[in-house]
Amino acid sequence: MPVQCSSCSEKRAVLKRPKTGHSLCKECFFWAFEEEIHQTIVSAKLFKTGESVGIAASGGKDSTVLAHVMKVLNERYSYGLELMLLSVDEGITGYRDDSLETVKRNQQQYELPLKIVSYEELYGWTMDAIVKQVGLKNNCTFCGVFRRQALDRGAIMLKVDKICTGHNADDVAETVLMNVLRGDIARLRRCTTISTDSENEGVVPRCKPLKYAYEKEIVLYAYFKKLDYFSTECIYSPNAYRGYARTYLKDLESVRPSSIMDVIHSGENLSVREGVKMPVQGTCSRCGYISSQKLCKACVLLEGLNRGLPKLGIGKHHRFHDKILSQQPLTEEEERKLKAVDF
């Protein structure tokens, strides 16, 4: 006996929502999904009318769905936003070059302006070259740090007021779990906020409209809407520590589906003791980007790469900042420790 849609009771249900278990027809699911994002945007006051917003697009399912939904909601509810696509080319052959083709197609499909920034032009290094030097264990650190800065620089070039990224509920929950496993209380405090607030001139505020959308629902939405997206995993990511948190989260979801929201709830309501040392925001002495140390992490990593000491940015490196700034060479002992391990 076919199941009726639990919302409109007219059409046949074609799917079961992972978040709520309701059986819904396509249209009702689209409506529910889009409405929830609209509620997220409105209740968190993410945007102001007339702002220009850069959508961080990688060509993957999250950013494609984000671009689509932002366009739909912008028209439906007259947000009055000027939308643009912003993409980062990390220089990973076989992965990023293919996904960038998808972004270019998205630009045509959604009729939005597109800007692509690449690691090559910003830093002089592609991820392929970095992995050759660093190996397969700590490469995600490099990519993530560089991408953050790349997005900001791209946003400044595009002259947008805000950036929005496609981080979904699963991503935020994984980040909470990862920070618990790493014992990083400072990040734990910040990672569940839906938007960064920024009074600094050099940094564009960013937000996560998909924060409460389950990854499974995003996939379902993209599938049923027949959206064009690129669905391969990054070839360099299998050894990332985040993988452990992800496996645990997926298992949690299979035991109790609301776990993803529960983890986010825990992260949001964590009460941190007074007097816990938190980083203070300043600027990098070399490139002017925001940083809590003398040198921003990207500069330290770059320095390490350029000097052939890939481990410079991994682990504790505060002592080296002065030496780097004054262009002093490091002692032999220090150099030995920072070289890559032979594998």
């Binding site: 779990l177 618990v180 645990y248 035991v255 529960d262 825990s266």
Partner: protein, 431 residues
């Protein structure tokens, strides 16, 4: 493993005394001989109590012993501590409480009596007064058990030193003597009570919620016993490994707001009874080594999640995850555990809001006055829950709505698993 130990004992000396051959290795590089390990272990216990100056001389402290290795080790440490020379002695008056949860795991009366007899022998050997509490007693608890009683006037840190000084000077003669253990008869349990408890637990659809409920019932029974028998502190035997798993589980269950109370050294949510966790710095490995080397008696009692698959419950899944991760990254347990040092207790005063099951504050607010109005009309909270579960009431009915407004986020999840077949019942979701 045995080969490694042999290798160690033959060629390695204890890192502390550097004389005796090492008998075991705790962390990488830390090889200890028997006696140095014993000193290290005992010292840690006294240090954690001394640093957190929370147990005053002469205070009555109830030790919650589950029969497992950690809590039995704690019992042994208390014995050791009390029997030492005057200036290094532990100075409180202990009692022991054991909760017989045989009904929860479906044990027969004979099995339960056998377990209890074994433990009784262990307790009698210590000479402390002990209380065997069948879990069924929780059904008779008054609703007031979940209230936060006003704590006795806050004693500042300076009072601790003065109190110790006073105790030493008067030779402890003014303080209550350890009681003679009463001839405790094993309490008789009515079969109807056992049945009711089993119905209550059986009505919970998921193992996760069942374990949470058991935790709550256990804690309430312990607090109630402590109150009625005049104890002001309750010592729990959670080891570091157990607490790290508990922390991660709490996050997964939505209890992030209550981390400091659930996993911290002291938990003062009940006001007059303070829960203390002195075994928090011992990893499960250290406890196991100590118990083995110094023959600490303990009894293996199955629990509701014994021999279940990894994904049977969130607690079980987390335990398996953390222990597996620990093998690849040896600092996992201590890193997770240390997180609770950075969290703080969201203080609740008697007039403030609290969840009735966990007596902790969270973003879902409740007023205790509403609860008391409700409960005096409907007798105790437990009968209310029992009725709900037995009759499978759905969320549309007023009792459930009132109950929902009295619970914090994660307890609402637990109760949802009791009252509804649907894991996605809108009872829960306000999004």
């Amino acid at each position: 493993m045995a080969a490694l130990l042999l290798f160690v004992s033959v060629s390695k000396k204890c890192v502390k005394c550097k004389e005796a051959p090492a008998a075991l290795v705790i962390r990488a590089g830390d090889a200890y001989c028997r006696l140095c390990f014993k000193d290290f272990f005992i010292h840690k216990f006294k240090a954690v109590l001394g640093k957190n100056r929370i147990i005053f001389p002469g205070e009555k402290v109830l030790l919650a012993v589950s029969g497992g290795p950690s809590s039995c080790s704690m019992l042994r440490q208390v014995q050791e501590g009390l029997s030492q020379k005057a200036n290094k002695k532990l100075r409180f008056v202990p009692g022991v409480a054991f909760i017989d949860e045989g009904a929860a795991i479906g044990q027969s009366v004979e099995e339960r009596q056998r377990t209890v007899a074994e433990l009784q022998a262990v307790f009698q050997a210590t000479g402390f007064p002990f209380y065997i509490l069948p879990l069924e007693q929780v059904l008779d608890l008054p609703a007031s058990v979940v209230a936060t009683n006003p704590s006795p006037s806050e004693q500042p840190a300076s009072a601790y030193k003065a109190a110790v000084h006073h105790f030493v000077e008067t030779d402890g003669s003014n303080f209550p003597r350890p009681q003679e253990p009463k001839k405790t008869l094993l309490p008789r349990v009515q079969e109807s009570h056992t049945l009711m408890l089993q119905q209550l637990l059986g009505s919970v659809k998921t193992l996760t919620a069942r374990e949470e409920l058991l935790n709550t019932l256990r804690q309430h029974l312990l607090v109630h016993t402590a109150r009625t028998e005049g104890y002001s502190k309750l010592m729990l035997g959670d080891s570091c490994t157990r607490l790290a798993v508990k922390l991660l589980t709490s996050i997964s269950l939505g209890r992030g707001a209550q981390l400091a109370q659930d996993t911290g050294f002291s938990d003062s949510r009940y006001g007059d009874i303070i829960l203390v966790r002195p075994m928090r710095d011992y990893s499960a490995k250290e406890v196991a080594y100590y118990n083995h080397l110094f023959t600490v008696p303990y009894v293996v009692i199955p629990s509701v999640d014994t021999k279940t698959v990894d994904k049977a419950s969130i607690q079980r899944l987390t335990e398996s995850f953390v222990t597996k991760l620990q093998t690849d990254f040896p600092s996992t347990v201590s890193t997770i555990y240390r997180l609770q040092l950075h969290t703080c207790f969201m203080h609740i005063s008697a007039l403030n809001i609290s969840c009735v099951l966990q007596v902790s504050s969270d973003s879902l607010a409740v007023k205790p006055s509403t609860f008391f109005e409700a409960s005096t009309a409907d007798s105790s909270l437990w009968v209310l829950i029992a009725e709900l579960s037995v009759l499978h009431l759905y969320y549309r009915l007023p009792e459930t709505t009132r109950l929902k407004s009295l619970l914090c986020y994660s307890c609402a999840l637990t109760v949802r698993d009791m009252v509804s077949d649907d894991v996605f019942d809108p009872f829960m979701h306000e999004l």
